[in-house]
């Protein structure tokens, strides 16, 4: 049975996560609109979470069935959040 161990990749991911965290904190102090800030912070957080799941939790090495078993339910809250935001925006506009 093949086991995937890539120590160099683990450290590269660690540096990437640390850098993305620094960027996140930096974004808070940028002179941009609130909407842009929320979009940037949410994007960075989702990217970091995906990196942890794919590389450190080894989802990238699992079968497509296991990947979908995990990913699809995890996307449901995100989808629900989008529906709630759209519904709130619709009520504010109309």
């Amino acid at each position: 049975m093949e086991v995937h161990i890539d120590r160099k990749q683990y450290w590269v991911i660690f540096v990437a996560l640390a850098v993305l965290t620094l960027i996140e904190v930096g974004v808070v102090y940028l002179d941009i609109t609130w909407g842009q800030m929320v979009f940037a912070l949410t994007g960075l957080a989702v990217a970091k979470a995906a990196i942890v799941g794919y590389y450190y939790m080894h989802l990238g090495h699992e079968t497509i069935t296991l990947q979908m078993t995990v990913l699809v339910p995890m996307l449901v809250p995100g989808f629900y959040a989008i529906v709630l935001i759209l519904e709130a925006a619709w009520r504010m506009i109309f």
Binding site: L17, E24, V28, L41, A45, M57, T63, A81
Partner: protein, 231 residues
């Protein structure tokens, strides 16, 4: 008798199972942990969505010192609530990221049958989690000039901002405490030689839980701490 006993153990070794058509070589324990993490994910999703709905639906989310001085609001024992210490919490986030890389290094050492390395990395992972809890305690109750959100007026039950903050971060803290306990048990098992011979299944499952704790914190840190008031 001894041979029969050994043979029984060999027969139960998950590494020898034929790959499943859908789930490959994933063990039952690993699938069970993934299913638990999915249910746990829904708990955190409920907390974060509730937080988002309360925050999005409120006319004034944070009664800051500035607004209190202007007479706009009056919340809690001090009349206003403190801001969150982003640099301090960013340090705690970095600590969890460090503990995630030490966890995968422990896993790698286990696969490579390096017991000493496994114990070192696993110990560092538990230490990272314990330090995170100390940091959270400082954030809540204070130490020197750091933290003390409660003393500064962020009191559970006084506002939706305070209640959602403590509910979400303490629920996560409970997971960190569970993780540190879980990893400490794994350390003792590793010390006793349970994972010698490259049997990494239990350690990989513990790692899944620990990485999930890190993953959830990434989202909590962003949505609770970083996203500012609309301006």
């Amino acid at each position: 008798m001894s041979n029969a006993h050994d043979h029984h153990h060999e027969a139960l070794d998950w590494r020898e199972w034929p790959p499943d058509e859908d789930y490959g070589h994933a063990s039952m324990g690993k699938l069970g942990m993934w299913l638990f993490l999915l249910s746990d994910c829904m708990s955190f999703a409920g907390l974060l969505l509730g937080y988002g709905m309360l925050r999005g639906g409120s006319k004034l989310w944070w009664c800051s010192e500035e607004l209190f001085n202007e007479g706009v609001c009056n919340v809690g024992p001090n009349g206003f609530e403190p801001e969150f210490g982003i640099p301090f919490t960013a340090g705690l986030t970095f600590l969890l990221i460090c503990s995630s890389v030490t966890m995968v290094m422990a896993y790698a050492a286990c696969v490579e049958k390096d017991r000493k390395g496994m114990l070192t990395w696993l110990g560092l992972t538990s230490l990272g989690g314990a330090l995170f809890l100390v940091g959270q305690d400082i954030e809540y109750f204070g130490m020197g000039h750091h933290g003390n959100l409660i003393g500064l007026g962020l009191v559970f039950g006084e506002s939706a901002r305070a209640s959602t903050f403590y509910m979400t971060t303490s629920f996560h803290g409970l997971h960190v405490l569970s993780g540190v306990t879980y990893l400490s048990v794994m350390w003792v098992m590793a010390y006793r030689g349970r994972f010698d011979g490259g049997n990494y299944n239990m350690l990989e499952i513990a790692g899944l839980f620990w990485h999930f704790v890190d993953l959830v914190w990434i989202l909590v840190f962003t949505f609770i701490y970083l996203i500012p008031e609309p301006f």
